[in-house]
């Protein structure tokens, strides 16, 4: 048996990065723009024979040189990365791979969650992880006691909750019997999730037919949709949006959702592409996509980016015109100081 050794591939090591890109390309994978850690497995001649990377709670860009198949090298790469993820505290892990190679990973303790288009497969290291998530959504729905045949869904990050979000929820809630509201529960935004949830609930408390859910890692998360939070190319956004929509479709089918409501997107490029991809794919699954025009203030559509800008500039008067009273009183209070400071220190508050 030949000797292989691991070596971290640092972004600054151009030669190693080039080798990694060549290997990925040969295996039909393009290197993701956002990676936090990459590792290579080298043979005794210092040739790269296998590689893998990690970003947040995912493993990605995994490839083995075609001349070294059948040596169990992918097992070594995955072991290494899983160990690394555990040591930094991530234990619910997700993995992306091509459809043609998915079966290798099912032998390495990963289970298929969904396929985005015919190219990408999304796996997790929990047996029944997604099934359990779906069961929880159903339990939450039953606990709400709401009944009805017209069932809709909204997914929102609400970073933070604005009059625009409130308007979308009011419009959607008036249009259906039960409205499932998925709050992006991953903490990847400027406003922490605990605060976002509090403001969403406070600003929608007057609507009686909402069931609140968390998205966990299954919708708009660093696992399914990293380019929502970090800039990437349009092709990458499209493929991730497709996967996210696929997961949403599975959730919608479980809950009997027939219509999804989104706000029209005049500002953010990534949300705009996301809406486009959804429109295409949801109709195939017989789920309607309702695009609600944005609520305008002084002739300008309201967006959370503007709200963050107002907080960034410390302009409470502008803020007051853009958000519900509940959100305003939070940001005007002392309690919100750490959050305000974080937004004020941020270099970029506008969603790209």
């Amino acid at each position: 048996m030949s000797d292989y050794h691991f070596s971290e591939i640092r972004p600054g090591d151009r030669r190693a990065v080039r080798e990694m890109e060549t290997l990925l390309k040969a295996e039909g994978i393009s290197k993701d723009g956002n990676l936090e850690f990459s590792v290579g497995l080298y043979d005794e001649d210092y040739q790269l024979v296998a590689t893998g990377s990690a970003f947040a709670n995912t493993l990605r860009c995994l490839a083995v040189d075609s001349g070294h198949r059948g040596e169990g090298l992918m097992g070594q790469i995955v072991s290494y990365l899983v160990d690394w993820q555990f040591r930094r505290g991530y234990s619910d892990l997700f993995l992306y791979t091509k459809t043609s190679t998915a079966h290798f990973f099912t032998d390495l303790g990963f289970y298929e969650v969904a396929r985005g288009g015919d190219k990408v497969v999304f796996l997790e290291n929990r047996k029944n992880g997604f099934a359990r998530y779906l069961a929880r959504l159903q339990a939450e729905t039953e606990a709400s006691g709401l009944k009805g045949s017209r069932i809709g869904a909204v997914v929102m990050n609400a970073n933070p909750f604005t009059l625009g979000h409130q308007y979308l929820l009011e419009t959607a809630a008036a249009d259906c019997d039960i409205l499932h509201l998925f709050m992006v529960s991953e903490d990847a935004s400027l406003v922490p999730f605990a605060v976002r949830e509090q403001l969403v609930r406070a600003g929608s408390a007057h609507l009686g037919n909402i069931v609140y859910h968390y998205t966990d890692s299954y919708l708009i998360s660093s696992a399914t949709f990293p380019s929502y939070f970090l800039k990437d190319s349009e092709t990458v956004i499209r493929s991730q949006a497709a996967l996210d929509t696929e997961l949403f479709t599975k959730i919608a089918q479980k809950l009997g959702v027939t219509v999804r409501y989104v706000g029209e997107e005049p500002f953010s490029e990534v949300t705009n592409i996301y809406n486009e991809v959804m429109a295409e794919r949801l109709s195939a699954a017989e789920i309607a996509l309702r695009v609600t025009p944005r609520k305008a203030q002084d002739g300008k559509a309201i967006s959370a980016s503007q709200v963050r800008q107002a907080i960034h500039d410390g302009n409470l008067e502008v803020l007051r015109g853009l958000v519900p009273e509940t959100t305003y009183s939070y940001f005007a209070s002392d309690e919100s100081r750490p959050v305000r400071e974080k937004i004020q220190q941020a270099v970029e508050v506008i969603h790209y």
Binding site: G75, Q76, S79, D83, F86, G89, K127
Partner: protein
Amino acid sequence: MEILKAAMAGTLESSDAQVTVEPGNQDIELSIESSVINQFGRQIRTAVLETLDRLGVTAAKVTVVDKGALDCTLKARVECAVYRANGITENFPWGGDIR
């Protein structure tokens, strides 16, 4: 011993097993993935449960991805994962709880 945090030991290489332990509710929730589950599933289960019992672990979520590990390997991986879950990485009780 209690499982204080999620921890892992072992690899996915042939003849090894990757054992993950996480804090659990009241009992041992064991999930085994193995290429030889039909031949050795019961034996793997017994080896893991016996080891956990000896270490006094009564509540945990345990995941084993087995690649054809021998019993001694399985035991070693379980012990290592449990001790890591307690932040113990040296001065093991050789001959005591670990034997």
